[in-house]
Amino acid sequence: MPAEVRLAVAGSGKTSEIVRKISEQQQGTTSLALTFTQFAQSEIEARLPSTLASEHETMGWYAFLVRHIVRPFFPLLYPDKDLIPRGLCFIDSLGQIPKGRGGWKYYLNDQHQPYNLRLALLAKQVIKKTNGAPIERLQRIYDNIYIDEFQDLVGNDLEVVAALMDSEINLFMTGDVRQSVLETSRSDRLNEDYRGVKQVDWFRAKRDAGLCTLVPSDTTTRFNQAIADFSDLIHDPTLELPPTSSTQMEVTGHDGVFLVDESQLAEYLESLPRRATILWSQKSQRQLPQGELLTFGTAKGITRERVAILTTGPIVSLLKSRKLLKHSSASGFYVAVTRARYSVALVTKGAAKLHAQLHADFKGKINLWSS
């Protein structure tokens, strides 16, 4: 059975879907849920009922690669080494690995901990060298594997995913390519063409090869249609991602996307029944107002009634001319916009002027706020 890949939008209940599927598993079924972040893992665990008929385990992606892909068959890669890879050596850049480490030391530190940035590469090597022994093993342990937030997987991770797709395991993946704000490895250069939102093309290629089905899950229950329409304009239009529709119909009197002049921010915040959460990119350093403050990156996974986003130069360019944001900036901005249930304020200098200069695609979708 080909893997099922859900191309979800923000607020479409990705995790709920996985939790529902796990809860409905029959007795005797074994399953594994994988996701990159600790946050997403505890999210799944917290939502699962305390007693399940089936046997289920939730695991982080790195732990999965170590325990189920690399460790069992590592000796077949280095038959003369009597060692068991354990744990993880977490580094931020390849520069932190001392030079001149060859053979097994290319992948592991002296305590036999795999370097996180080379873990997926090692995983791929093990799969290749053993003709897929780890996948065969997983097939015998698990009936179902769920991957949540697949957009965090990059480079060689995708090769492991491809191997899972090509197995007897029922693979169900869900994620939102528009929210690629995290990556398992920034240094993994494989599948570079499928970085960020373009990952959708990788899945499309797998679909064309018969390895998976792509099911858009494009209905959000979180934010209203005005925000949905705006969010659809953030990423590269040539990717032809399906438009988002909303079932969130609540009318509060201040709904949709607004341009707010920086000088009026305090006034704007005061005008709302409850203060908006301020979202800012690390690049937009400036005087920050009082209230809940979150960066784009840390906002992932949360929901607020209203947000006010401190715009950056590239965001302004996007609004004026639809000049594409870099993939990570686009994802960050998309995450920021899609946090709000009712209203998104884009805070900028010269809001009125910008409003007049908005690109045709944005005209009528953004209102100018004034006191």
Binding site: R71, P72, F73, L76, P79, A133, R137, I141
Partner: protein
């Protein structure tokens, strides 16, 4: 299913590599041959315990093979700086066995892609400095400092194991009847616990605690109030024991037909344990280890136990050690492994030719067992040869062959089969036979592969002295003595008389024990087999 067991440097095993059969495995061997240690290795690898204790708690210098330790200290004293001995135990499972998928990996000494479990005992790298200091001491006792060793227990997947892997059931039934007061040892308790579902266990635990609390708060309170009034009572009060050693599973005792387990005869205890182990569904116990089921059992009990083992062994892999030819005969030769001096000799084509195997399979288990269990074997052709040899031995050596540790077995003309088995087992063996008018070398040639000077030899009378035992006896210088014994006079044909009497003559010789001269080949055989 276990496909292979390897044990290095563990107790009597310097280097064991055992390939068991799929279903039934009967392991036969003398005392101290290592049979129990083999079962111990299996249950240690699967359950992590030995003699009821966790491996790391039980670890002591005697875990290590004596010879290996001795060699180590000899090399150490000679300043060769040898590596400290390590124990390596491995159990390989077939790929399709249930419940073993998570054990699949290549962390084994053979670097095989296989499910399995490995236990290693190695010097603890955290104690490197202490070890160095210890070994630098003069006058070291010849014992390894196992307190500076570490036990690692992991699956072939590399995952550490902390308790018996789920889905891998093993039932060990040893014939030691329990010494604890309830008669319930941890193995039996394990068997019993499997009858109780976790939810039920929780409920029993709760009600057990509650009822204990009820007694403490009820009648015992009255008692305690009275004690308290006594000024010399030092605050003593009586409470129901709520500590761990009074958990419900330690006070629930199995009963058989209303009789508590501990009150059963030893035979019934063993039979009950076997029945419990075998009654659980094959899914729970794929492995059954039975240690000498014949112990403590009457013949009829044994018979019914064997029947149980046979009918219930379907789908399970059984390892049965035994001394009993009855057990062996009933459970079948095709599952036989011979164990000798901590080595396992498979009773199959890899060690023994197919027709010899077929011969022993037809043969009664009794004779085969004797061949396997005896340290020194004399094989003779017929009952007369046996009686005469026994008598000769006793007269020459002043004690019976049995007392000298020599087993005399009548196997007809199948000395070749015995020699082949003897070679496989590394046994000392003398084969006596008639020359049948052929030169001795005519009979030695076909079995020359199995003969070895001083270890396995053939003893055959010279052709000039007659073709069978009877003329050989006469020619040895016993003509007169035998005529007197049989009441024959000079004109009677002594040889014809003896040949016509078959074994009767030998019986009369053995019965009256006249002073006789023994044929040279018999004398030589006696000296050969008695030499150490």
């Amino acid at each position: 299913m276990i496909t292979r067991i390897k044990a290095t440097n563990y107790r009597c095993f310097k280097s064991l590599d055992f390939v068991p059969h799929e279903g039934m495995n009967i392991i036969v061997g003398g005392n101290e041959a290592g049979k129990s240690t083999l079962l111990e290795v299996i249950s240690l690898l699967v359950g992590g315990r030995v003699r009821g204790r966790w491996a790391a708690d039980d670890l002591n210098p005697y875990w290590f093979n004596h010879d290996v330790v001795r060699q180590y200290f000899a090399a150490h004293k000679a300043g060769q700086n040898p590596a400290l001995p390590e124990i390596d135990l491995e159990i390989y499972f077939s790929d399709d066995a249930p419940g073993v998928a998570t054990l699949l990996g290549a962390h084994n000494s053979l670097r095989l892609k296989c499910p399995g479990i490995r236990m290693r005992v190695r010097p603890d790298s955290d104690h490197h400095a202490e070890l160095e200091a210890y070994l630098a001491e003069d006058e070291l006792p010849e014992l390894l400092p196992t307190d500076l060793y570490q036990v690692s227990w992991h699956a072939f997947s590399g995952d550490p194991i902390t308790r018996q892997p789920r889905g891998l059931g093993v039932a060990l039934v040893n014939s030691n009847t329990s010494s604890t007061h309830s008669g319930v040892d941890y193995k039996l308790r394990q068997l019993l616990r499997d009858f109780v579902k976790p939810q039920e266990s929780a409920k029993i635990a709760l009600e057990h605690r509650t009822s204990k609390a009820k007694i403490s708060n009820g009648i015992l309170r009255t008692v305690n109030e009275r004690i308290a009034k006594d000024e010399g009572s030092f605050g003593v009060s009586l409470q129901m024991d709520q500590s761990a050693n009074s958990n419900w599973d330690t006070v629930v005792a199995p009963h058989v037909e209303e009789t508590p387990f501990a009150m059963l005869g030893q035979g019934r205890q063993v039979a009950t344990k076997i029945a419990l182990a075998m009654s659980r569904s094959a899914e729970h116990t794929q492995l059954v280890l039975l240690e000498e089921p014949e112990n403590h059992l009457s013949h009829t009990e044994l018979q019914s136990v064997i029947e149980k083992i046979q009918t219930l062994s379907n789908g399970r892999q059984c390892f049965v050690t035994t001394h009993s030819s009855f057990v062996l005969n009933r459970l079948g030769f095709k599952s036989l492994h011979l164990m000798h001096e901590s080595r396992i000799i498979p009773f199959d084509a890899s060690a023994i030719s197919a027709d010899t195997m077929a011969y022993f399979k037809k043969q009664s288990g009794y004779d085969t067992l004797r061949l396997v269990l005896a340290n020194r074997v004399v094989v003779v052709e017929g009952p007369s040869d046996e009686m005469i040899f026994n008598l000769a031995f006793e007269k020459v050596k002043g004690r019976s062959p049995r007392a000298a540790g020599v087993d005399v077995i009548t196997l007809g003309t199948r000395g070749k089969r015995a020699l082949e088995l003897g070679k496989a087992l590394g046994r000392k063996m003398a084969v006596l036979r008639d020359n049948d008018d052929q030169e001795p070398d005519h009979w030695r040639a076909p079995v020359s592969d199995y003969l070895e000077d001083g270890v396995r030899e053939m003893f055959i009378g010279a052709t000039s002295l007659g073709r069978t035992l009877e003329p050989q006896m006469i020619e040895a210088g016993n003509d007169t003595a035998l005529r007197i014994l049989f009441g024959l006079d000079a004109k009677d044909d002594l040889l014809k008389y003896m040949l016509s009497q078959k074994t009767e003559w030998a019986w009369r010789v053995a019965d009256s024990e006249p002073g006789l001269v023994w044929p040279t080949y018999i004398q030589e055989a006696i000296e050969f087999i008695d030499a150490s």
